[in-house]
Symmetry: C2
Subunit: 350 residues, 2 copies
């Protein structure tokens, strides 16, 4: 293959085979992942180039997916900028303090993400691209958390279900919110740019928690920052994928972010709640879609999962515009890896 199927689909061309990959495909569901990670803290793994490259490549090796997603974490750019953050097993990212006031944010945004600090990221990407040479047609996707989702962790200081503190700050102190999101947008953009410059062929901006916002708040307080993050890498020509969960009401606005960023082509990610033919009606034909297999069904009997995958793929291919098969959210840790391999085989046969 001269062009990776993933890139063909993102450009709206007919791919040589139906591309498929899985969010969180590098993770606890793989025994080789657990073996490689043993004794290494998450953020240390992300910042050890040889290990990050190995973890990125494992699912390509095992499942023959059409894309590797750069192994990282949403808070890695914070660590690289010198912000106090750790990932507590079973909890998630925990900040040294909540950044929930104008003065805390003023202190936060004095941190800069130096280009030098991105050296281990660039090195890991280069090693991954070298490793991917053995898998023709597999493309590397750069990874970054979106400005809102990064901010939600910063304001709350830790994971939360409802992101109350983020919405409170957004409405109570729009100037502080704007300063915070401008800073996280810089971070997201710089993190993606380092990956594309080092060889990533596409990017994905993960706005995991943005579905907690109403459309008006998203459009006013978040979308311009997401667009600026993606605009920082738009001149490099790599397609961009924009993903969140619970975003049925935001899909058209997320497409607008891709347009506003000036990215050449891209995809909107769709979780399992919105059928892809309906998502297509919402976003129109000028953008690709990615999704939306329900991760819950990875543990269902094969006949149930197969029928679901066939239905999702048929809807994804209906209408105009490209389509990339993926889950609607991440691989659950207890997933049998053989099931993922079988899904890839099925998709490639369609």
């Amino acid at each position: 293959m001269t062009t990776a199927p993933l890139l063909q689909a993102l450009r709206g061309a007919a791919p040589e085979r139906q591309p498929v990959w899985f969010m969180r495909q590098a993770g606890r569901s793989l025994p080789e992942y657990r073996a490689a990670r043993r004794g290494t803290a998450m953020l240390d793994a992300c910042l050890t180039p040889s290990l990050a490259a190995e973890l990125t490549l494992q699912p390509v090796r095992r499942h023959s997916v059409d894309a590797a997603i750069f192994f990282s974490d949403i808070v890695v750019p914070l660590r690289l900028a010198g912000v106090g953050v750790e990932i507590r097993p079973g909890v998630g990212p925990v900040m040294d303090r909540p950044y929930d006031s104008a003065w805390a944010i003023a202190e936060l945004v004095s941190h800069r993400l130096d280009d030098d600090a991105l050296a281990p990221i660039r090195e890991a990407v280069r090693l991954t691209v070298d490793g991917l040479a053995a898998f023709p047609g597999a493309a590397l996707i750069g990874f970054a958390g979106a400005p809102f989702t990064l901010a939600a962790y910063l304001v709350e200081g830790r994971p939360s279900r409802d992101h109350l503190a983020a919405r409170r700050l957004m409405k109570s102190d729009p100037a502080a919110w704007n300063a915070l999101l401008s800073w996280t947008a810089e971070l997201s953009g710089a993190f993606l740019r380092a990956q594309v410059e080092a060889g990533a062929a596409a990017t994905q901006l993960f706005d995991s928690w943005v579905g907690s916002l109403c459309l008006a708040d998203y459009a006013e307080h978040v979308a311009p920052h997401s667009a600026r993050a993606l605009a920082k890498v738009a001149d490099l020509g790599a397609p961009a994928i924009h993903f969140g969960t619970g975003t049925g009401h935001l899909l058209a606005a997320m497409r607008d972010v891709l347009d506003a960023a000036g990215v050449a082509c891209g995809a909107v990610g769709v979780d399992w709640r919105t059928p892809l033919d309906e998502a297509r009606r919402m976003v129109g034909g000028g953008v690709a879609l990615q999704g939306n297999i329900d991760p819950a069904l990875l543990g269902a009997p094969w006949a149930v999962l197969e029928a679901h995958v066939r239905d999702v793929v048929a809807r994804g291919r209906s209408g105009s515009g490209g389509y990339v098969v993926n889950l609607g959210h991440g691989v659950p840790p207890e997933t049998d890896p053989d099931v993922l391999t079988r899904v890839v085989e099925l998709v490639h046969s369609l």
Copy 2:
């Protein structure tokens, strides 16, 4: 007042004043609640009639809200049916085991909720109604978890973010799922019926987690059971409110549940993500709306909260059909109770 403003609004009549109450208005935000609950486990509090009545009445006494919501918990009917369940502080409801297979569900549904077991619920409702006599115009709303949300706890065995196990069972073993939801629907219906028979003037069916489903799964695997739960009490004539979060894509289907149940009149609850004028377009004019103040803004400066409340109320009153002011989800525990009182005063002045 001869008729409570809440009931007027639910019937689509112009209320004498704009009714307002808060989900989770009886809870940790109130010092008198923390004092009354001290040393008593949650489920014990729910099953001690005098205490349950006191906790139900506290917010009416303090905030002059237009409704008391019966103090209970989603899993109380399970406890009354003899199912092993406890509420772990900081975790939530934990079952003695996950009910995630056909044989586990067969065992579960052999449990019956005897009418005798509901005696403490009836007694608590009677005491509450007696206490409410001192607050003319305040109506008591009966409380029950909806069949899906009850099932989500049962299948998972504990709280979960994504409800993967529930969706997996629903699609993998529709017969077991149907048996489970038929049983939880019986429980929800019987729990509500006991409350209305003892004096509750309306009901609210809480389907907190149903927003995790796509519309097709909701319509096929959940809605008929929710309708059957509400149908068990429809002949008593009490208006019904049907609430969930993240349900922007389900609002019309939730209205259909009220219709299918044959309830005389009712409301669809709307969280903070869908503006009420948009929700009105979705559900039409034949039903009331309830919501959708963003709980995140209860901690914002008063000017911000006031502007938000005024906007929500204006949208809620636009178009035809009744409207009940509420939050889009529960009162956050750290809320200043004086802010809630001030919101009630503001709403009553509008």
